[in-house]
Symmetry: C2
Subunit: 418 residues, 2 copies
């Protein structure tokens, strides 16, 4: 497995990069400004499909619909709107989500049960459903036209529909998040594409996080679900804490088999690695776009007795407002790091813990060591800061990602709804 | 019990208000500026004592010492320093805590085991122990002098030692937190005093929270422990979330019996109510002094199946950075309130929940209702905002307190250590 790192490579594009996938984004007027706000992702054939969802007790209307439509592990289209979360509005919300699926189904000539629906935006306000459906009709018509003409993007034309789709799922995001990569297998090339949205990063998990993955590999829904679950656990879930999720979070994965290849053995192993890697890239894109964030932090906890303990501690540190403000202030306040580890809900022996800022050790065996404040300042002044803890208890490790807490964050979130 | 509310009244003073208690605060030069930083609380006789402590895995050195000294339920003095947490510095930290107790013991002629120690400040930096001990000697000498002269404060002199003690336990606190009250019983008057510190309020629990209570009632340590535990659960723990605590948090309670009265029946019942009320007052004082806070929020969750569920949901809402920034922005974004309830880790039926801002209902049976934005703005523009949720599932309820998240918070915490 020495060539694991070289078995796949990043390429241009997003969800329409794999064979047989199409995507468009349109402006439906749901958001205040003239911005893209309806996205449609479509596979030319029915695809195997998997999904992971928010664990919030309060679930948005489209989430219920999508879960129900995914029961058979099959789907052909995903329709997404931004600007309104379609959450907590009662029967009208269920009806709105269903209508969105039905309009796609009608235009694209697929069963409504094969259409998945996702929304993101303000909670508790009824959808401007007329505008949403008009947008979906426009998106469907454009996508249908592209299919008839055999136009896939972005590689084949300058009319970058997939990029517009990635723009259309954004809310407070300031940067588009799309990724694609290729895996060379025995039988040829497998392509993987993805896009994501999310930026409410102080409690990483509270801003809605959406992710959509596509591949032209042939993978049964059950296998796809396992691969997605594992990838999400080490990527999106390390910025969006389990159990601390918004009402609308979901990650969906379609595999349409258009490459003609079914993976096994080392190819499957490498494919899983590639999916995990792409999810980590998208998760990092989300963190880097944290609301008002000026710095990026990667927290690695090693030497843990269990994976779960390592994950809890890494996430607790990334989520600590006092660690985040110290990062913003470029203050080597490792006591806050240690404190956040201590209340993570995982047992460890404080007397064994080493703490590093970059390569600089700041605490050894649970005790502060004399370190160069100048060196610490230098490390903390970088845009990317790596914090490491070694618990010296076992072999398990985990990595979480976060950003700093800034004045800008307060400004953005003090006036998001209005 | 119709006169429960009138059975006690607030009076001037703090920890030295009950009979037989003395307190002083001195400037020992631990903090950068010329501020009070060593406090000594003393009972003229050995007192029954109780304590509750942080649940953080990482515990400061004085905490271990105090727990050990409190095993027999007896204590006569509490010594506290601010400016240094005496945490995570190894054997030197244990020795520093012990030395603090020993110096008090020597001056005040009590066993070192009857001296309790608390610290607050920066973590991982060795105590400037010479300055601390010099401060303790000065405090002991002054207190001893007052005792000999029979001077108790603040009621009997203008030399307000208890007030200086309350000043000496502050870190980023901007206001002193001391309270006292009197209960009229069958045999006479029982007095209760208290002081507290804490203000790191974004994750309420991460800034160290200290509380010290004194009473001249005669109560056995076991009973005192139960009363303190119950009072803390409904007060300090509703701003300092269980399991999410700093390395140094503790609340101590001394009962010296100097009133000559042992409480029972209705008197005991009223005393417990008074202790709870004083703890709630101090907890609210802490929240109102939240770092950079401009608004105060009280969140009441009713209609819960269990007390635990009500507590979790109320605390989750108070701790949500998105709720806190919405409060700062005076934005009636009840979706964020509902979302924070949803990830609290308590089960409920979202379709039954009513949400109120003040008296204004903003969601009914889990669905947003049309409400006057003008009225909402008016409610949110007040300094005190009351958020209420009714889960319509049972009879249990709980109240938590929090504050908004402001630019000022980021400024304070970006530069606390340095």
């Amino acid at each position: 497995m020495s060539n694991v790192k070289e078995s796949w490579k990043s390429i241009e594009g997003g969800v329409a990069a794999p064979k047989g996938f199409y995507a468009v984004g349109v402006q439906a007027g749901i958001k205040y400004e003239d911005k893209y706000d309806v996205a449609l992702v479509f596979s030319q054939v029915q695809a195997q499909a998997a999904g992971v969802y928010t664990r919030n007790v309060v679930k948005a209307h489209p989430l219920h619909l999508t879960q129900s439509h995914l029961k058979n592990g099959l789907a052909q289209a995903i329709v997404i709107n931004s600007g309104n979360a379609n959450a907590c509005v009662g029967k009208a919300g269920d009806q709105a989500a269903l209508s969105m699926a039905q309009v796609v189904a009608m235009f694209m000539a697929v069963p409504a049960e094969d259409v998945l629906v996702a929304s993101t935006g303000v909670i508790g306000v009824e959808m401007p459903i007329d505008r949403v459906l008009t947008g979906i009709r426009a998106a469907s018509a454009e996508l249908l036209g592209n299919m008839v003409k055999g136009i896939r993007e972005p590689k084949e034309t300058s009319n970058d529909g997939a990029h517009r789709a990635a723009l259309a799922i954004m809310t407070t995001d300031t940067a588009v998040k799309e990724r694609a990569c290729e895996l060379s297998c025995q039988g040829g090339v497998i392509t993987l594409g993805g896009m994501a949205k999310g930026s409410g990063m102080i409690h990483p998990n509270m801003g809605t996080m959406l992710g959509f993955l596509t591949t032209d590999a042939n993978i049964a829904a059950e296998e796809l679900q396992r691969i997605l679950r594992e990838a999400v656990d080490e990527s999106f879930n390390m910025v969006t804490v389990d159990g601390d999720t918004s009402t609308n979070d979901m990650v969906l994965f379609l595999a349409n088999g258009a490459s003609g290849m079914t993976l096994s053995g080392e190819d499957l192993f490498n494919f899983e690695k590639m999916v995990k890697s792409l999810c980590v890239q998208l998760a990092q894109d989300i963190v880097r776009d944290g609301e008002g964030a000026s710095k990026f932090m990667e927290v690695t906890v090693s030497g843990a007795k269990t994976k779960e303990a390592a994950r809890k501690i890494a996430k607790s540190i990334c989520g600590s407002s006092l660690v985040k403000t110290a990062l913003f202030g470029e203050d080597a306040n490792w006591g806050r790091i240690f404190t956040a580890a201590g209340y993570a809900g995982a047992e460890f022996d404080p007397g064994l813990v080493d703490i590093f800022l970059g390569d600089l050790i700041v605490a050894q065996a649970g005790i502060g060591v004399a370190f160069s404040e100048e060196k610490a300042k230098e490390i903390l002044s970088l845009r990317d800061v790596h914090i490491r803890l070694n618990l010296h208890l076992g072999e398990e490790h985990a990595t979480a990602w976060g950003c700093d807490l800034t004045h800008e964050y307060v400004t953005i979130n003090g006036s998001y709804r209005s």
